[in-house]
Symmetry: C2
Subunit: 387 residues, 2 copies
């Protein structure tokens, strides 16, 4: 933002594009998962990579039943540790070159846990801990759904990895963790529940194999926003991780885990021009603001770079951001050639764009402009970034 | 970056992911366009949205034949003006709410030019200038290829817009400008040259219409990286704009305007894991580092989220980043099921990823790590961002 403005005011005082956070929607989303997990005697370890913001994280922590946080970078770990969060799971497979930074956090009192999924990295972590005379706290990453990384619960190497860590006097084997990322490809409640069961059951099975072999495995950590909201029994699970649920987005709505009216983030943009012969409207919200994420492209309804709302958050017919260059957004109809409702899209007027993927869109901004139910600006919360 | 490191050193000292800028490649790219334009008696107005970095821009300015700069946000205008660039074209259609910031720059001595393409915005700009008692310097944006925004050279409204600006005692009609963004869809030299001619000829025709009607139109500004490199005669054109040519990227290589060996940007990543049963390798370079840009998806060769090189910039067979989550990159073969060359992809080892789109990937980082021909780190240059 170029022009400093007061912390309160109307949307019209903002420099577009900017990132709006609807506080009440966010609080309802936080409450929804908290209630769901409370009903299952579950504990949450929120993934703060979505917000990268201490104020958002404090809103989650205020709800209770929280076990610490999950981060995706060591930079996030540093930021949240500096803001008082000391129980941190760094949930991206560790590479040995980052162990110096991990050790540094540990020595300063941060209870940081790292994840790995191979014998080679386990051996490197054990050797590093011995050399530095520091305790590395380790979780074994499980592959519960073929999504990305991790070792399978029934893989021979699982117990060998556990042995390397458990046998190291300088490492703690904290437990197992998995992320059912394939849940983003589910399209109905039945398949989501099945995947949530698979995520849970394979993790418990891995933990039981490790314990049966005589190694400790106190923590069983699972989660993704769709499976966290779908799971119906958490016996044997010690914590659930989820991130995007605080904001939700069009991808989550497409999966069916939220309604568009629950999406707490939007990008405020200004109409800068018309191309009436092509039946489209130009805005100042291009991919630099919306991100290049096209997560709804593979869903039943493709919203392009985002769904178009008026400045009070009411959907405008079937309008979407059909194209984007760096600082230009192109608005068209999604499924019709009828003329655009230009009277609802005045030149210089404000629109709100719902994001495909909250994590990606939020990352394009350095701050959230926090608004209340009356679309009054009530605060600005900064985000961290980098590695 | 968490760990402060010295300004010189080897790639192994860097925290991954980070953004590498090959200084010699960049200088060769800058020299190539400078030579090309010099041969046509052309003048360059570089688009600095690609780098958002004063050091990169100074390298361009040092080549001479430069007419000032082009920016895509008022934040860029502020940043570059603070660093001594005072001749600035803000090349995104102005919205009235931003005229206060424009006027503020003008009053501080910045020669900032704004663009517009409608009667309504022209009238708003004229009214704003009169009210603020400041001179708004205006260029009319032309649509030369149906790409995005602008008024067509033969549209009735062109002269009406020119009249509003020319008749306003508080506005200067600086000229016309266009961006042949459709050049990104060209696939051969012949179609590129044809589009470059179209971009030039429609702009000159628009300028001649404006002059014939008795209004001033001193500047004819055209450009995109592909058309700037293709154009063979600039008679009647006063300046050429281009941005991504300083770095190039896989999309530009796919169009045929550069070779992969000329791409000056890459993302340095670390190998964090294997999924040998799926024949893929996991790195710490996900979409947060690479961006979500999939610009090569519609080209003859789809590189996923980027092409994979070793840490000395040699391509590793046909490896690409086939998938990406926030902080994980998945490396696979592009067009074969042969086993990956794991010995070239050691756990913890470094790889370099060539970006689809330099502007989008660079925007994910706050600095360039500048390397020399020997892959020695010689400097760090910061970028600006935001609006």
């Amino acid at each position: 933002m170029i022009h400093p403005s007061t912390d309160t005011g109307s949307l019209g005082d903002l420099t577009t594009p900017c990132l709006l956070l609807d506080l009440q929607r966010m609080r309802r989303n936080i409450e929804r998962l908290a209630q769901h997990l409370a009903g299952l005697n579950g504990t949450l370890r929120p993934h703060v990579k979505t917000s990268k913001c201490i104020e958002v994280t404090r809103e989650i922590l205020a709800g209770g039943h929280v076990n610490g946080i999950t981060v995706s970078t060591l930079q996030e770990a540093e930021y949240f540790f500096a803001h008082g969060c000391s129980d941190i799971l760094y949930a991206v497979g560790i590479v040995p070159a980052k162990l110096a930074a991990v050790a540094d956090l540990t020595r300063r009192g941060c209870d940081i846990k790292i994840v790995l999924d191979s014998l080679e990295i386990a051996a490197a972590v054990a050797a590093d801990a011995a050399q530095r005379q520091v305790t590395h706290r380790v979780m074994i990453e499980l592959d519960s759904d073929g999504h990305r990384s991790g070792v399978r619960f029934d893989d021979d190497s699982l117990l060998d990895i556990a042995r390397i860590i458990a046998d190291s006097p300088h490492c703690d084997l904290v437990g197992v963790m998995t992320h059912a990322g394939e849940s983003y490809h589910c399209r109905d409640a039945q398949s989501l529940l099945a995947l949530a069961h698979q995520e849970r059951d394979t993790s418990i099975a891995a933990a039981e194999r490790i314990r049966a072999a005589g190694f400790p495995c106190p923590v069983v950590s699972i989660g993704s926003t769709p499976t966290a909201l779908a799971i119906d029994n958490l016996d044997g699970v010690t914590e659930v991780r989820a991130g995007v649920y605080v904001f939700f987005d069009l991808v989550m709505a497409g999966i069916g885990v939220c309604d568009q009216s629950e999406i707490a983030l939007s990008v405020l943009v200004s109409v800068s021009g018309y191309q009436k012969d092509r039946n489209r409207v130009i805005t100042d919200g291009g991919w630099m603001a919306l991100s290049r994420d096209r997560g709804t492209q593979s869903q039943a309804v493709d919203y392009g770079y985002g769904a178009v709302l008026d400045n009070e958050c009411r959907a405008i017919e079937d309008l979407v951001v059909s194209g984007a260059s760096q600082e230009h957004g192109m608005i068209s109809r999604r499924d019709s050639t009828a003329p655009l409702p230009y009277q609802q899209l005045p030149l210089g007027g404000l629109l709100r764009i719902l994001p495909n993927h909250a994590c990606a869109t939020a990352a394009q901004f350095d701050e959230f402009v926090v608004v209340d139910d009356n679309n009054h600006v009530i605060d600005r919360w900064s985000r961290t970034r980098g590695w």
